[in-house]
Amino acid sequence: MMKKEYRAEYTPASVNPLRFDPEKCIGCNRCVEACQIDVFLPAGVQGKTPVVVWPGECWYCGACVMECPKPGALELRHPLMNQAAFVDRDSIRKEKMF
């Protein structure tokens, strides 16, 4: 079989669950190695921020953030549709039921 050259293309999704802060990221690629799905690819240059190539395949386990040595360098967030609401306890008016 003739060897094909591999190519990767950023595959957009309606949600970008993972966001790097390039100022804080040291490009250690621990997140790349922690991800079970391989949604990241390491940047071609050493020490640079990895690329989230397949954001739609993220399953929101948080392993990448758990392994990140620089707090705030990588953030995981749920899609808006999945952000459960919480309300202040005191805002709920207790009234007698019967």
């Binding site: 060897k3 591999y6 949600v15 391989d38 399953w59 386990c61 309300v87 039921m97």
Partner: protein, 638 residues
């Protein structure tokens, strides 16, 4: 962009080991450690990275059914019998008995490896769920103490360290694709497996004397989301039942594959992030719930007696030996029914109003802290996605109420045809050694029929590893079916050659839709046959999937496995002619007269394209203690 890894497309390598473990989750790592302790040379293949892979890669909070832990008041026999009766004997009693006998030993092992299993700092000193002598924390039934609360986020890294220390060769980013077999003594035995490097595209023939299949249960069969495919199921996106698919291709015998349930968990549009809404189940048991006006929702015991204190929610009813709760227990029978909030319909009748909320602030401080902080924080997918994210958004469990959605607190609204393999679903049929009908091929964890939860995965993984090591001692390497290797090479790499083809997502979506249409909540023969035709035509269509790199190839292989599993499910549904409530199996063309004779395990395997049905009586495994003693290999510390 350029591919950052080496290109090894077309490379064919060969490696040898005594015991090959497929899957590096809790079950696989335990199998590898056990086999290594018994002296075998062990290689473990993991599609992701074993450090955080599998359903419990980023944590788990409960260790269930640890009946030999020093505080437990329920015997392994009592617990296994309860689970059998609870599930009308469609329960994996062999697995559960191993779990109840040896789960605690596995936990002690993990502690030795560096995992945290007890409250060593006294964080919960004086709490009713803490044993002051041992520091163990209990969940659910505080009197009977069979389930422990553990710090599961640290377990996988600890197990990987130990496996490496023992000399297990862990190969990450290798997708096990194919079980190798040969004929022997009129049956089949395994001689290893093929592995595909998900970064380089190289294929390796792993020759082995024995193999442990420790892969996930099938997923993405009915549920798929083309835009956010990673969200469509509860378990890891890449865990889709490749072990089931390769077993089916190799003639392995399965059972209960006709069982599926209406979707319970995913994180896509039908539900919310697991453990991320107000509820009172599992990780959140027994949270205080309030209605829209802050009225507390009553808990009742099995006799409908209203419970006055939070502490009573963790105690059996008067005259009850113990109650059952845990991952696989939904609505237990009277004998084991524990404290629960009033049924939804009754609440509405009494005037309670939606939405409901979890009100941790109304709970005693220790109970609040153990739910929010320890349990939500240690459970799979909660440390970062829930605990840290919600905290970052300003959630304070003392000040805030967390909303429930839908009718009550399940926070999921699936349709009947949106199904999942959940709640002890089907899997591999096995004997007391956890060996399958393919000799020297063992199974563990979610590969086993009616299997569930972390302690079960660890205990059965260890047991399978011990028996695989023993089988390897008396086996040779056998031969490799070179024709199969060539066919598989072609199958695995073909999408690289396709021009103007289709995306793997299109086929996955079509397969899920076909399963919803033809194998939904209510089955009938004509639709099942149509379903088989649809899946077979999708198998043809899948030859047009086009890929540009090994990452996409892995996704394409998964779709091919999903189609394989879908076919097995449809065939299994065809074999059961009568509706069967314990299996959530309903037919519109129900042959009621056959119900009694079908009150058994219906099995199926495939040989040369033909389905071979079989059956086993419900309690085929014989006396538990006698068989356990005859087959145990030292994993228990007694």
């Amino acid at each position: 962009m350029n591919w950052p890894y080496v290109n090894e497309a077309g490379a064919l390598k060969e490696e040898k080991c005594d015991v090959l473990v497929l899957g590096g989750g809790l079950a696989g790592l335990h199998a590898a450690i056990a086999a290594r302790r018994h002296g075998a040379e062990v290689t473990l293949l993991e599609k992701g990275n074993a450090n955080r892979s599998g359903a419990a890669g980023t944590g788990f909070d409960h260790w269930e059914m640890a009946c030999t832990n020093p505080g437990c008041r329920v015997t392994p026999e009592e617990m296994t019998l309860a689970l059998e009766e609870e599930q009308d004997y469609f329960s994996n009693a062999i697995g559960h008995y191993i779990e109840t006998r040896e789960g605690w030993d596995r936990l002690l092992d993990i502690e030795q490896f560096g995992g945290k299993i007890r409250d060593t700092e006294g964080e919960f000193a004086g709490q009713p769920f803490r044993d002051e002598k041992t520091g163990l924390l209990y969940a659910y039934d505080y009197h009977n103490r069979y389930t422990l609360r553990v710090w599961g986020t640290g377990f996988k890294p600890a197990l990987v360290r130990e496996a490496r220390r023992l000399g297990v060769r862990i190969q990450n980013r290798i997708e096990a694709t194919t079980l190798l077999t040969q004929e022997e003594n009129g049956g089949r035995r395994t001689t290893g497996a093929l592995g595909f490097d998900t970064r380089t595209g190289a294929i390796t023939i792993y020759r082995a004397k024995a193999v442990v299949l420790a892969m996930s249960r099938p997923a993405r069969v009915w549920l798929f989301h083309g835009d956010l495919p990673g969200l469509c199921e509860f378990r890891p996106f890449s865990s889709i039942g490749s072990g089931h698919a390769m077993g089916w291709r190799a003639g392995m015998e399965f059972t209960l594959m006709e069982k599926s349930v209406r979707g319970e968990f995913s994180a896509s549009g039908r539900s919310f992030p697991p453990y991320g809404t107000g509820n009172n189940h599992n990780t959140w048991y027994a949270a205080t719930l309030v209605d829209a006006r802050g009225m507390e929702i009553p808990y009742v015991d099995r006799d409908g007696r209203e419970l006055r204190t939070v502490e009573e929610r963790y105690m059996p009813a008067p005259g009850q030996k113990f109650f059952l709760k845990g991952g696989v227990i939904d609505e237990p029978k009277y004998e084991w029914r524990g404290p629960e909030t009033l049924p939804f319909d009754e609440l509405i009748r009494r005037g309670y109003r939606l939405p409901f909320y979890a009100d941790l602030g109304a709970m005693p401080e220790g109970e609040r802290r153990v739910i929010w902080g320890m349990m939500v924080g240690q459970e799979a997918k909660t440390r970062i996605p829930i605990y840290e994210n919600y905290t970052h958004r300003g959630f304070d469990p003392q000040k805030h109420l967390l909303q429930s959605y839908g009718t009550g607190w399940q926070s999921a609204a699936f349709l009947d045809q949106e199904r999942q393999l959940f709640g002890a679903p089907g899997g591999v049929m096995h004997d007391w050694n956890l060996e399958t009908n393919v000799k020297h091929a063992f199974a563990a964890g979610d590969m086993l029929y009616a299997s569930d939860c972390a302690g079960h995965a660890c205990a059965t993984g260890y047991w399978a590893g011990e028996h695989a090591a023993e089988a390897a001692e008396r086996a040779d390497f056998g031969s490799v079916d070179q024709d199969l290797v060539c066919r598989e090479q072609e199958r695995l790499l073909r999408p690289l050659e396709v021009q103007g083809g289709i995306d793997w997502r299109e086929v996955n979506a079509a397969a899920a839709k076909a399963m919803q249409n033809y194998c939904g909540g209510v089955k009938c023969e004509d639709l099942l046959i149509q379903g088989l035709q649809a899946i077979r035509s999708l198998k043809e269509e899948s030859r047009r999937i086009q890929c540009r790199n090994p990452h996409e190839l892995t996704r394409a292989h998964e779709v091919s496995d999903i189609l394989e599993v879908s076919e097995m499910i449809l065939e299994a549904c065809r074999l059961r002619k009568a509706s069967c409530k314990p299996l959530f199996f309903e037919r519109s063309d129900n042959q009621e007269a056959r119900r009694e004779e079908e009150n058994c395990y219906l099995t199926l395997r495939q040989e040369e394209g033909q389905v071979h049905p079989g059956r086993k009586p419900l309690r085929f495994y014989g006396d538990l203690e006698t068989n356990y003693k005859a087959h145990q290999r030292g994993g228990g510390l007694e």
